[in-house]
């Protein structure tokens, strides 16, 4: 884990640098790259659409986070999934890229422009869901082999992160204990199949199986009002998984919106679990933003240590975000929005409600105020 610690210091240096030098109003701090990955699955050639996101100022080899998407309610919608940089989903990737990761989002077979059709597709049966998870894991595993060869990728430090079926796919991947995979972040992923009663029986069997094979630390995040995964089902999954010996931290969030399954991706949802994700990453010596940044920002604000929690919450908060404050005072406000422009406006509005003039001093993780 010396590697992890060393990396943290590199990110710290990078962040300090960006805090000192970034003055641009636009979020040009990330680079995105769309490309096809040519992979081999079961000996066959497969072309998968992929999006890479990383810090523009990143140097050398970065740890890799694989973003694994879910399934739409209907298979035909899978073709309309996009990996375009103007999708709202890009903000979740940006959150991780800003934390120092090389984000790799692939479209599995059948999704978007990737080859097809959807592989995780078989009639309802006791072993069907596990076969879906494994088919999905095949795509991620095959992509790992290709991404590992990139000059900016460090395949000795990888995590798999996924929502819904993408979380489930990450579990199946981790059960194979691929070399270099350091953690799984499962956002509301489990077995859910509308109208397939066999899933109720397969969940304990499959999660015992997955838990018995996986040697990789897991963080699971669920909201208590997940319409796909009621609380009792989450408990069955947890008990079977940990009972078989798996390493799991389960984070149960209070209800978010009408359906917590999708509510996790709302700004309110992300604000809750990103803090916990940071803690999880730090606990496992994996990169995230350096905690020393809190002191750097406090100093720039000329705020007392008692305001530490507020600054920490901002730094952990989801992007795009902006921080407004009244110069020389402790009046401040920050907001998250779809774009940094919107975040700036919202933060200024909120900050100025107390009748004091405000200026923006931070955008995402960049100090943009006067030095």
């Amino acid at each position: 884990m010396i590697g992890g610690a060393k990396f943290n210091s590199i990110v710290a240096a990078a962040l300090v640098l960006s805090l000192a030098m970034e003055t641009s109003a636009r979020a040009g701090d990330l680079v995105q790259e769309r490309q096809y990955l040519r992979v081999k699955i079961g000996g066959k050639d497969v072309r998968l659409e992929a999006l890479f996101v990383k810090r523009a100022d990143a140097k050398g080899r970065l740890p890799i986070v694989f973003f694994n998407h879910g399934r739409p309610a209907y298979r035909e919608m899978s073709l309309d999934q996009s990996l375009l940089v103007d999708d709202p989903g890009i903000n979740q990737m940006a959150d991780m890229a800003r934390r120092g990761w090389l984000v790799v989002a692939i479209h599995r077979r059948g999704f978007g422009l990737s080859d097809g059709p959807v592989q995780a597709d078989s009639p309802c049966a006791l072993d069907a869901y596990m076969s879906w998870m494994n088919a999905d894991a095949d795509d991620i595993e095959a992509s790992m082999a290709v991404v590992a060869k990139r000059g900016d990728a460090d395949p000795s430090r990888m995590i798999a992160m996924g929502g819904s079926a993408g979380g489930a796919a990450s579990l199946a991947l981790a059960a194979r204990n691929p070399s270099g995979l350091a953690a799984v972040i499962n956002l509301a992923g489990g077995e859910h199949w509308a109208g397939c009663a066999a899933v109720r029986e397969s969940i304990p069997i499959d999660f015992r199986n997955l838990g018995g094979r996986s040697r990789i630390p897991n963080l699971w995040v669920f909201a208590k009002n997940d319409l796909n995964h009621p609380l009792d089902q989450i408990e069955v999954m947890r008990a079977a998984f940990t009972g078989a010996g798996a390493d799991l931290k389960l984070l149960l969030l209070e209800p978010i919106g009408e359906n917590g399954h999708t509510g996790l991706y709302s700004i309110a949802g992300r604000a809750q679990w990103l803090v916990e994700l940071d803690n999880f990453l730090r606990a496992h010596n994996l990169p995230t933003w350096p905690i020393s940044s809190v002191d750097v920002v406090l100093q720039k604000l000329q705020w007392p240590p008692s305001s530490r929690a507020y600054v920490l919450a901002y730094l952990a908060a989801p992007g795009e975000k902006a921080f407004a404050r009244t110069p020389g005072k402790q009046n401040a406000s920050y907001r998250t929005a779809l774009t940094v422009d919107d975040a700036r406006k919202l933060a200024l509005d909120s900050c100025q409600q107390k009748g004091e003039p405000c200026t923006i001093v931070m955008e995402d993780d960049r100090w943009t105020g006067s030095p």
């Binding site: 040519r38 309610a73 209907y74 035909e76 073709l79 422009l113 097809g116 059709p117």
Partner: protein, 386 residues
């Protein structure tokens, strides 16, 4: 046939009170394309279909006769054989063109010679077939209703190979190729696969136009192994292809084009949307749900999914019937289950004519409700403005 169809359509429109924003009516014109290939002039049998109320220049979707495994098969093909596919493309916003290659149907020119198991023989056939397609595009491009900057070519079996061969020329304006069960065999049953793979390698080396290839795992003529080899050769050489191998839905063997049309249309529609080319959009599906005044989030989601899955990509003629009673009876299920309360629409697709489609959709609806009315004909809303 065409006259009768037009009458049916007009009759259908006489029944709808509000003037439709655009009509489902199509203009179908048999054409004899005068083309010049290698200094000689030929007339090729063809058909051009577009929406009657289409304005300005339309992108061109070219279909050509396939449905056979060898160069000389499919002698019965005429432009009319492909009329239903052309109509489906016209409804998606294309200037749909069918061209019958030299030596088939009423087209002039020499009958194709059988392909022997020599590269030169296959090469000569592919050149001639691509010439026919290119010559047709050149001719159609001169039409005032054609937008030659956006052309797609669609073919099945041997016509799929012809389309891929054309895509290796990267002609200006060609923006996509859809090859369904693309492959060919030799009349003499000699082992041609190695030569075909080599040909695809050469196509891939030159190709820059995005291809979509669709195969069926259970195909006995162009089996999965051959399809994979063609795919690998094309990709290795630098070609741009999205490869889809049906194993569940659409896995009907060689006959995907005619027998699993909804499945390959759905793939084509996704391919077109991803490239900003005309077809129905997910917003169109949402519009229908909005017009039916479905407000519950779950009911909306289920209805949108159903329409996408079984209706929008499906071949015409098709229609949707709606019952306000059924909609009023809808009860929100406790959890998200597809086996929940029934949705307020019934539909029929792939019908011989619009009357059949309307009657089928209505009959299905009337089994459970009394207040059924047709709200969609093909991709066109005909219901009340609710």
């Amino acid at each position: 046939m065409r006259g009768a169809r037009l009458v049916v359509l007009l009759a259908a429109f006489a029944c709808t009170t509000p003037a439709p924003a655009w009509s489902d009516e199509l203009t179908e014109t048999p054409v004899s394309f005068p083309v010049t290939i290698g200094g000689d002039t030929f007339r090729l049998e063809g058909l051009v279909i577009k929406k009657s109320d289409a304005q300005g220049r339309l992108p061109i979707a070219l279909l050509t006769n396939g449905g056979g495994a060898t160069a000389t098969a499919g002698t019965g093909a005429t432009a009319t054989t492909y009329v239903r596919y052309a109509r489906d493309l016209a409804r998606r916003g294309w200037l749909a063109v069918v061209t019958v290659r030299r030596g088939f149907g009423k087209s002039e020119g020499p009958k194709p010679t059988p392909i022997t198991c020599e590269a030169a023989s296959l090469g000569a056939w592919a050149t001639a077939a691509a010439d026919d397609l290119q010559a047709t595009i050149d001719n159609v491009s001169k039409r005032p209703d054609a937008d030659a900057s956006k052309v797609i070519v669609i073919g099945s079996e041997i016509a799929g190979v012809a389309a891929v061969a054309l895509s290796a020329r990267n002609p200006p304006g060609l923006v996509g190729v859809v090859a369904v069960s693309g492959g060919l065999q030799s009349e003499s049953n000699c082992p041609i696969n190695d030569i075909l793979v080599d040909a695809y390698k050469n196509f891939g080396a030159k190709n820059r136009v995005p291809n979509l290839w669709i195969y069926s795992k259970s195909d006995k003529l162009f089996g999965a192994d051959l399809a994979e080899r063609l795919h690998t050769a094309f990709l290795d050489a630098g070609g741009d292809v999205k490869f889809v191998m049906f194993f569940g839905d659409g896995n009907v063997g060689t006959a995907i084009f005619g027998q699993a049309t909804t499945a390959w249309y759905a793939q084509m529609d996704g391919f077109l949307r991803a490239r900003g080319l005309p077809t129905w959009s997910t917003a169109d599906v949402k519009d229908v749900v909005d017009r039916l005044k479905v407000v519950d989030r779950l009911e909306r989601e289920n209805l949108r999914g159903l329409l996408m899955q079984v209706y929008f990509s499906a071949p015409g003629e098709k229609a949707i019937a709606f019952s306000p009673t059924l909609q009023a009876e809808w009860v929100r299920p406790q959890n998200k289950v597809t086996a929940g309360p029934r949705l307020p629409v019934t539909y029929q697709t792939t019908s011989k004519n619009l009357d059949d489609a309307r009657n089928g959709a209505l009959a299905a609806c009337q089994k459970v409700a009394q207040d059924c009315a047709i709200v969609m004909e093909n991709l066109h809303w005909v219901g009340d403005v609710r």
